[in-house]
C-alpha cells in the first residue's frame, strides 16, 4: 500500500479446480492487471476495481490453496492462486481498500477515486468497520456520500464525530465466548476392523470437557500425572475404562478394576460428582415435593423409560458400583454444558486446565460451606416457605395513609392552561361569582319546570333561520379544524406530504444538522485548516437554501404553509450560523486592519 501498488506471482484460474495460468498479478489504486508468463496466452487481464463488487478468500490452512476470488459487478469472478498465504493476504488487504474506495467513488459518480483516503492511513479492519456501518445505515451512507465524496468534509472529519458509533460497533464485535460442545459421545472409539486395536481421539477441547464433567478423573489426573505415570499412559487408561463402559460388561469391568487400582478410579462411580449432586439437592426448594409429581413423567418407569436390554438388569451389589446410568451421565453432561466455560486458560496445557477447573470448583465449595450450618439455613427456609398466615402476627406495613389537604390545587394547576388554550379568560369566572339566596334560586328553577309542564313543548323547537345559522357555524368550524394540523400528536404533517418531499425534507434536516455540528465545533478558529473547513461548510450550507425553496414550491398549495413551517427552524439554524460566520469574518478583518502584518 505504501508504494501504491502490489505485484505478486499468482496463477489465474477460471474455476477453483482449474490448474490455472501462471503469471504476475499487479494491483494499482484503480485497477489490477494480470500478465501471464506465456506471452502467447490469452488470459491477460486488465480490470478496474470499480467493477469489483467483493472478494472472497480461503482460510489459512496447511493443505489448502491460497486463493483470492474477486467477484465482478456483471457476474463472474476472477480467481487467483498464490504461492504463499502471505502473498495472498497482501493482495487481499490491498483489494479490500481499493474496492472500498472505488466503490464509494463509483457510486458517487465522481472521479476523485482515492482522495478521501489520502490523508490518513487506515487499518484494514477500521476501513471495513466503516464500510459496514455505511452499509447498515442508509441515512448515514447518504450523508457520507453527500458530504465526504462531495468534498465538504474529509473522511476523518466525518468519522471524528461518530467515534462512539465506531467504538460501539467494535465492542459489539468483541469475541463471544465459545461454549462447550453439547454432543455427548464425542469420544467414540473407532476400530479399524482388522486388528483388535481400538482408537480414541482426544483433543484439548474434549479433555477440558472430560475434566469438567468428571471431577474424579480430574482429581486422578492431578494426583497421578506426572508422578505416577505419563499423560499418555493416563489417557490410555482412561480410554480403556471408557471402552469397558461402552461394552456394558459390568463383570469384566469389576474384574479389571480389582486388578488395577488406577483403572478402578475411572470405573467406579464418580464420588465427587455424586457429592456435588447431593449438595445441589440440598439447595432445592425444601417445599418442593418431588414425590407428588411422580407419575407426571416417565421417571417411574424402570430405567426412566429408556429401552434397555433387560438381561443385565440383575442388581448384583458388588457390581452395582461399576454400573453407570445413562441418565446420570446425561444430566451431568447437560449441567456442565449449561454452566459454560468457566475458566480462562489456554486449552493446550492439560495440567493447567485441570488445576484451574479444580480451583474454580473449590471456590464454589468454600462459598457455600463457609457459613457452616447449611442445615440450619434449610430449616429456616422451610419455616419461611411454609408460612401459615393465621399463625403469623399481623404484619404492620409501614404505609402512611395518603392525606391530601386540598385537592383543589390539582385542578388549579391544570385549569389555567386548559382554558387558555380555548381562548377563554378567567375573567368570566370572576363575573359569575355573585350572591344568591338559596330559596330564591330553587324557587325560580321550580317555576321554570312547572312552566314547561303546563305549556308543553313549543311547536317548532328551533326557528329555521337559527338552525341554518347553527349548521353553518358547525360546518365552518369542522372544515377549519380539519386543516388545523400539528395539534394532534397522532397525525404529523409529514405523513400528509408526498413521499418524495417528506424524504427530502428529512434528509435535508439531517445534513443541516451534520453540517452545523461541524460548523460550530470548528469555532473558535485557531488554524488555517479550520478556517478553510468553515468556509467549505458555509458554502455547502448556502447550497441548501435554494433546495429548501425548491421543495416548498414543489408541494401543493395546501401543504405549502405547513412545509414552510417545517422549513422555518432549519432556515433559522442556518441563519444563525451565517450570522456568526459573518461576524467572525468582520472581527478578523478588523483585527487584521489593526495589525496588518502576519495575521491570517
Amino acid at each position: 500500500m505504501t508504494d501504491g501498488q502490489v505485484i505478486k506471482r499468482a496463477r489465474y484460474k477460471s474455476s477453483v479446480k482449474d490448474f490455472g495460468v501462471p503469471g504476475v498479478l499487479k494491483m494499482t489504486r484503480e485497477r489490477f492487471f494480470f500478465m501471464p508468463n506465456d506471452p502467447k496466452s490469452s488470459a491477460r487481464l486488465n480490470v478496474e476495481f470499480r467493477l469489483v463488487k467483493g472478494h472472497k478468500f480461503t482460510k489459512e490452512g496447511s493443505n489448502k490453496q491460497a486463493l483470492l476470488n474477486l467477484t465482478v459487478d456483471q457476474g463472474g469472478n476472477y480467481i487467483f492462486e498464490f504461492d504463499t498465504f502471505s502473498d495472498r493476504d497482501a493482495c487481499r488487504e490491498y483489494v479490500a481498500t481499493a474496492i472500498a474506495v472505488s466503490g464509494e467513488a463509483g457510486r458517487a459518480g465522481s472521479e476523485r477515486s482515492a482522495a478521501p483516503l489520502q490523508d490518513e492511513q487506515l487499518s484494514h479492519a477500521e476501513m471495513e468497520r466503516r464500510i459496514r456501518l455505511l452499509q447498515e445505515d442508509s441515512e448515514l451512507q447518504k450523508l457520507h456520500k453527500q458530504l465526504v465524496i462531495g468534498g465538504v468534509l474529509s473522511e476523518a472529519e466525518f468519522w471524528a464525530t461518530r467515534k462512539k458509533l465506531l467504538d460501539e460497533n467494535a465492542s459489539r464485535k468483541s469475541k463471544q465466548q465459545v461454549g462447550l460442545r453439547n454432543d455427548m459421545f464425542h469420544v467414540k472409539p473407532s476400530s479399524d476392523g482388522q486388528s483388535n486395536k481400538v482408537t480414541f481421539n482426544l483433543t484439548p477441547e474434549i479433555i477440558h470437557q472430560i475434566f469438567a464433567e468428571k471431577p474424579a478423573v480430574r482429581q486422578a489426573f492431578l494426583n497421578f500425572v506426572p508422578s505416577k505415570m505419563t499423560e499418555k499412559e493416563f489417557w490410555t487408561k482412561y480410554s480403556r475404562a471408557e471402552y469397558l463402559h461402552s461394552t456394558k460388561n459390568v463383570v469384566v469391568a469389576a474384574a479389571e478394576a480389582a486388578e488395577d487400582d488406577e483403572l478402578a478410579v475411572f470405573l467406579k462411580q464418580d464420588d465427587m460428582a455424586a457429592s456435588e449432586a447431593r449438595r445441589k439437592i440440598r439447595r432445592v426448594d425444601p417445599t418442593l415435593d418431588m414425590e407428588a409429581d411422580e407419575g407426571d413423567d416417565y421417571t417411574h418407569l424402570p430405567d426412566h423409560g429408556l429401552s434397555c436390554d433387560g438381561s443385565k438388569d440383575v442388581t448384583d451389589s458388588p457390581y452395582e458400583l461399576y454400573r453407570r446410568s445413562l441418565l446420570q451421565e446425561l444430566n451431568r453432561h447437560a449441567a456442565v454444558v449449561l454452566e459454560g466455560r468457566a475458566i480462562d486458560v489456554e486449552l493446550g496445557d492439560t495440567r493447567s486446565v485441570a488445576e484451574a477447573l479444580a480451583r474454580s470448583k473449590q471456590d464454589d465449595l468454600t462459598d457455600e460451606v463457609s457459613d457452616g450450618n447449611i442445615n440450619q439455613e434449610r430449616l429456616d427456609r422451610i419455616s419461611r416457605m411454609a408460612e401459615i398466615d393465621d399463625l403469623q402476627a399481623p404484619r404492620d406495613l409501614a404505609v402512611a395513609p395518603l392525606c391530601i389537604k386540598d385537592p383543589r390545587d390539582y385542578f388549579d394547576s391544570q385549569q389555567a392552561n386548559a382554558i387558555k388554550s380555548l381562548g377563554d379568560t378567567l375573567a368570566g369566572a370572576k363575573q359569575m361569582k355573585c350572591s344568591l339566596s338559596t330559596a330564591e334560586a330553587y324557587g325560580s328553577l321550580r317555576d321554570y319546570i312547572s312552566e314547561i309542564k303546563t305549556s308543553g313543548l313549543n311547536d317548532s323547537i328551533v326557528k329555521p333561520e337559527v338552525a341554518l345559522k347553527v349548521l353553518n357555524g358547525l360546518t365552518q368550524s369542522i372544515s377549519s379544524t380539519k386543516y388545523h394540523l400539528g395539534k394532534n400528536p397522532h397525525e404529523s404533517v409529514l405523513d400528509r406530504l408526498p413521499y418524495v418531499a417528506k424524504q427530502e425534507l428529512l434528509h435535508h434536516w439531517m445534513s443541516i444538522q451534520e453540517l452545523l455540528k461541524h460548523f460550530w465545533s470548528s469555532y473558535p478558529i485557531t488554524t488555517t485548516h479550520l478556517f478553510t473547513k468553515v468556509s467549505r461548510l458555509k458554502d455547502a450550507m448556502s447550497q441548501i437554501y435554494p433546495k429548501l425553496q425548491e421543495i416548498k414550491e414543489s408541494v401543493q398549495s395546501d401543504f405549502r404553509h405547513q412545509v414552510s413551517l417545517l422549513v422555518q427552524p432549519m432556515l433559522q439554524a442556518l441563519d444563525a450560523a451565517f450570522a456568526h460566520y459573518d461576524a467572525d469574518i468582520q472581527k478578523r478583518s478588523a483585527k487584521s486592519g489593526e495589525r496588518p502584518n502576519g495575521f491570517v
Partner: protein, 290 residues
C-alpha cells in the same frame, strides 16, 4: 331494568346517559338569556328523537344538582310510548329534595354542581348494563353542563374520567355556560368524546341533533367537531405558574417550581440530598403518621 334477553342489540343501538345540570344558581345567572324551561324545551325533543331513532335505544337521565344527584328518567322503565316529558315530575321532586339538603340560605362565591357524583352514577349504570349479558347497547355519556368546574371535585372527576376511558365509554360534553369547562374538555379528550360549546343557545336542539344524536358506530363515518387539543402543561401548586420542568411530590404528585422542604398538599417531608435519603424517609413516616 327489564332487559328482555331476546332483544337483538346491533352495533347501532345506543344507551345514552344524559347528565342534566340542575344547579339553581347557574340557571339563575343565565335566566335573562336562556332559561331552564328553554333548555328543557330543547333537550326533551332531543331525548325523544334518540328514542325514535332506534326501537332498542335507551335513554337514562341523571340530574346533577348542587347538593345531590339522582336518576330522573329511564326509558327502559317507562311505560311503552311514554315520552321523555314524563321526567318533569321526577325532576320537580328532585329539585325539592336537593333544596332540602341545602344548609346555607345564600351562596357566596363559586358554586358548582356535583358533576363527579352524576358521572359516577352514570358509570355505575353502564357497568350494570355491561354485566347484564354479552349483548348490550353501546353506552355513551352526554354532559349538558353549565356550572363552573368545582376544583374540590378534581380527584373524583379525574377518577371517573379514567374509569370511563378504561371501559371505553366516550363522554360527550355540551357546555351551555358562558365559560369553557376544563373538566369536560379533558373528559371528552381522554375518552374520545366530542366537546362542544354552542355559540347560539337558542339553537341548542340543532346542535344536539347534529352532533350528539349519531350512535357510536356512525361516528366513524362522520366529521364531528374535533377537539382543538388540550394543553396538558401543568402549573406549579405554589405560584400557579405554567412550568415545563419542576419538582413533583413522589407521594401525591403535586407540582412545584422549586424545591420545598415539605409538600404543601400531603405534608410529606422531602429529603435534601442523596446522602440523607434514608433519614428523610424516616422523618416522612413519622410526620405522616402523627
Amino acid at each position: 331494568m327489564t332487559t328482555v334477553p331476546s332483544k337483538l342489540y346491533a352495533d347501532d343501538v345506543s344507551l345514552l346517559m344524559v347528565l342534566i345540570d340542575t344547579n339553581p344558581f347557574f340557571w339563575s345567572t343565565v335566566k335573562n338569556t336562556f332559561t331552564f324551561s328553554n333548555f328543557l324545551s330543547h333537550v326533551l325533543p332531543f331525548l325523544n328523537s334518540i328514542l325514535l331513532l332506534n326501537q332498542l335505544n335507551q335513554v337514562v337521565v341523571i340530574a346533577t344538582g348542587y347538593n345531590s344527584c339522582d336518576y330522573i328518567y329511564d326509558s327502559s322503565l317507562a311505560a311503552p310510548n311514554q315520552r321523555a316529558e314524563s321526567l318533569l315530575g321526577k325532576l320537580e321532586e328532585f329539585v325539592t329534595r336537593d333544596e332540602e339538603l341545602s344548609q346555607q340560605n345564600s351562596i357566596e362565591g363559586v358554586w358548582s354542581s356535583l358533576l363527579s357524583g352524576s358521572l359516577s352514577m352514570a358509570l355505575c349504570y353502564i357497568q350494570k348494563v355491561f354485566r347484564s349479558g354479552p349483548l348490550h347497547p353501546q353506552p355513551r355519556i352526554l354532559c349538558l353542563h353549565g356550572s363552573p368546574d368545582g376544583p374540590g371535585q378534581y380527584v373524583a372527576i379525574m377518577n371517573s374520567i379514567f374509569s370511563a376511558q378504561r371501559s371505553t365509554v366516550p363522554i360527550d360534553s355540551c357546555v351551555i355556560g358562558s365559560q369553557h369547562s376544563a373538566f369536560l374538555q379533558q373528559a371528552s379528550y381522554i375518552t374520545g368524546g366530542v366537546y362542544l360549546k354552542p355559540q347560539q343557545l337558542e339553537g341548542l336542539f340543532q346542535y344536539l341533533s347534529t352532533v350528539f344524536a349519531a350512535d357510536l358506530h356512525c361516528r366513524s363515518f362522520l366529521q364531528l367537531p374535533k377537539p382543538v387539543g388540550v394543553d396538558f402543561r401543568a402549573s406549579c401548586f405554589c405560584h400557579k405558574n405554567t412550568i415545563d420542568m419542576g419538582y413533583i411530590c413522589s407521594v401525591c404528585l403535586s407540582i412545584f417550581c422549586k424545591h420545598h422542604k415539605k409538600c404543601s398538599t400531603c405534608g410529606s417531608v422531602f429529603g435534601q440530598a442523596q446522602t440523607n435519603v434514608a433519614s428523610a424517609s424516616d422523618r416522612k413516616r413519622k410526620t405522616t403518621e402523627t
